[in-house]
Amino acid sequence: MKILIVEDELKTGDYLKQGLSEAGFVTELASNGVDGLHQALTGDFDLLVLDVMLPGLNGWQVMERLRQSGKNLPVLFLTARDQVEDRVKGLELGADDYLVKPFAFSELLARVRTLLRRGKNGLEPSILQAANLELDLLRRRVVRAGNRIELTAKEFALLELLLRRQGEVLPRSMIASQVWDMNFDSDTNVIEVAIRRLRAKVDDPYEPKLIRTARGMGYVLEVPEGT
């Protein structure tokens, strides 16, 4: 998977490049709109991470020209300005997603993965699995080490999200938005409590422990190495 990052701020650009590379993506960095557009048109990228405020051509213009030339790769906008008009404009121009600075890197990573997954129509598995944990989407059943586990609807949705995004750190805001449709930061530790309760049912009585807290970032479900 190849990602082009267009970001004029050096530090941000470098960290984005490093972070995405370490997450397993091939990345290239352009530091202005003109270079960015050129690289996007000539290179073969799967995703474009585009800053709005750019020297030369701004993000909107890069986007417009890209779409005019028939390139349909997904675009994730980054901006420091959270104006409703900006958001509407970006989405009208055909942006696929939108992140407002400052954002958590885990959030960016999660969205990048969502965008890259989109459009890939592999067969949707009806059973999600990690180690000895099994979640049956059709029968709405969770089984761990042969034991049936009863979950509430929201707990089921939470576990489903974690399983689908195995190995990805999911920020709290993303969990709140995906599971409860709460698209804003709550100033409570609701997610923490929900994860704790899920763990008590799914993880605590069993080995290996699958749900891990990535401190300061979010939560991840992964099979620990060496098991």
Partner: protein
């Protein structure tokens, strides 16, 4: 051009024009009255002479008397140098005439009999005359009747009128000038309070917003303006104070996390450590950063509300929001937290409000999380929905310590914490939750109240059910 004319100039012009008009009309009326008076005088004089002539002619009994008549008429009529006279016989022969003057023959021939004395005017050369003619019966059939005509030269009237008019014109011109000057003086004096107000207004700066215009010292017409300006100043002062308070609050609030980050990082860097402890430092930093980021986005949200961007958005994209459904969704979200705290969540009633679904959800979410935070174990957070008169009302009630009156008013202030130590310790929240709720409610043209009594705290929101409902407009803004 006229719009840009100064008030003083306008008033001066109006004064001058007004007084000139009045004087001109007065002058004209005076002229007419004097003219009438002259006419009456002439009439009386001519009628008197005519009577003399009539008596003299009536005394003529025979032709013999006629010779004396001529001298009698001369004595009676002539002698007044402005007076001219002419006596005609029935066939038009001139019996007696002043020199150098011809009466218009047509009214001599058609002169009336008896008492009728109509005044007639005519001009001859540069002179103009006013006169009357009368046919008088005599005892002598040969001179039956005699026509007597008398007239006065109006020259002396005209001379008088001309000089009067000249004097009047000069007077009007002087008066217009004088009233102009007086008007200018009056206007400058009268507008002096405006200049005082201007001087006071110039003294108002960002640092001296407490300056006010004195309402008592200005005339009543300006008092209203001064009051309005003072109210505007008060609003500005209030907004300005809130803004500067906000800036200093931001600085304060940012100081703690930034200082934590700095200390932590400096300590970590002070000597070599193993990877695990670097990791712990970074993780702890990440938590602090997240808090900072949330605070920034909350503050931006409030700033947007302040600029009115949010209201515009709601006007354009508003919809009818089913509040009961929103509350149920929020209950689902807070369910785990509530259960862990041993708090029961209860919803009563249903209603819908007009606005942006996400924003309203956020507003109610903040109230719920606030209620959950302060509800003791085994308590119940009760949400009541009701509607009436086009207004939806939502109340969130929770048991908990009664909040004193003076704190209730401050609950919606940014960064205000009724119990600072507690908040800081748990690290929850940015202290902006209730301020955000209030901003959202106001952007929806709604109202929000807080009350606390007998161990129960209650937040109440009123929202319009359809757009543009004036009853719900927040009067506090």
């Amino acid at each position: 051009m006229t719009q840009r004319l100064s008030l003083t100039a306008r008033l001066t012009l109006l004064f001058a024009m007004g007084s000139s008009t009045v004087l001109l009309v007065l002058g004209w009326l005076t002229g007419v009255a004097i003219d009438r008076h002259f006419e009456q005088l002439d009439f009386d004089a001519l009628a008197g002479k005519m009577l003399l002539a009539q008596h003299a002619i009536e005394r003529v009994k025979s032709e013999r008397d006629f010779d004396t008549l001529q001298s009698q008429l001369s004595d009676a009529l002539v002698g007044h140098h402005d007076l001219v006279v002419q006596v005609l016989g029935p066939t038009g022969e001139v019996l007696l005439a002043s020199t150098g003057i011809a009466f218009p023959s047509e009214w001599l021939t058609s002169a009336p009999h008896g008492q009728t004395k109509a005044l007639l005017e005519w001009s001859q050369g540069e002179r103009s005359f006013r006169g009357m003619a009368l046919a008088i019966s005599t005892a002598i059939p040969r001179w039956q009747p005699l026509v007597v005509a008398v007239a006065v030269d109006m020259e002396h009237h005209n001379v008088f009128m001309r000089s009067l008019m000249r004097a009047l014109w000069v007077f009007v011109a002087c008066a217009a000038l004088a009233t102009g000057v007086l008007g200018w003086l009056a206007a400058s004096r009268g507008l002096a309070p405006l200049r005082t107000m201007r001087e006071r207004a110039t003294a108002v700066t960002a640092h001296k917003l407490d300056q006010r215009l004195s309402v008592d010292a200005v005339p009543p017409e300006l008092a209203e303006l001064a009051t309005s300006l003072n109210e505007m100043l008060a609003r500005l002062e209030d907004a300005f104070h809130r803004l500067s308070d906000f800036s200093s609050d931001i600085a304060h609030e940012l100081r703690t996390p930034v200082s934590n980050l700095m200390t932590e990082t400096h300590v970590a860097l002070s000597r070599p450590r193993d990877a695990a402890s670097y990791r712990t430092t970074l993780e702890s930093n990440a938590e602090e950063y997240e808090r900072l980021a949330r605070m920034i986005s909350d503050m931006l949200f409030l700033a947007k509300a302040e600029y009115g961007q949010m209201s515009d958005w709601i006007v354009e994209h508003g919809e009818s929001v089913h509040l009961a459904q929103e509350v149920r969704d929020l209950f689902e979200f807070y369910e785990a937290l509530a259960e862990e705290k041993g708090v029961h969540l209860e919803l009563r009633g249903a209603c819908s409000a007009w606005g942006d679904r996400l924003m309203l959800r956020r507003a109610v979410s903040n109230l719920l999380s606030n209620a959950l935070r302060y509800t003791p174990r085994a308590g119940t957070v009760l949400v009541c929905l009701s509607e009436g008169d086009g207004v939806s009302s939502l109340t969130v009630e929770n048991p908990g310590q009664t909040i004193p009156e003076h704190q209730l008013l401050r609950l919606f202030e940014r960064f205000y914490r009724a119990d600072p130590s507690r908040q800081q310790a748990t690290g929850e929240g940015t202290g902006l939750g209730l301020a955000i709720t209030q901003a959202i409610v106001r952007a929806h043209q709604g109202q929000i109240f807080a009350s606390s009594d007998a161990g129960k705290t209650c937040f109440s929101i009123q929202l319009p059910q359809t757009p543009d409902q004036p009853e719900c407009t927040d009067l506090l803004v």
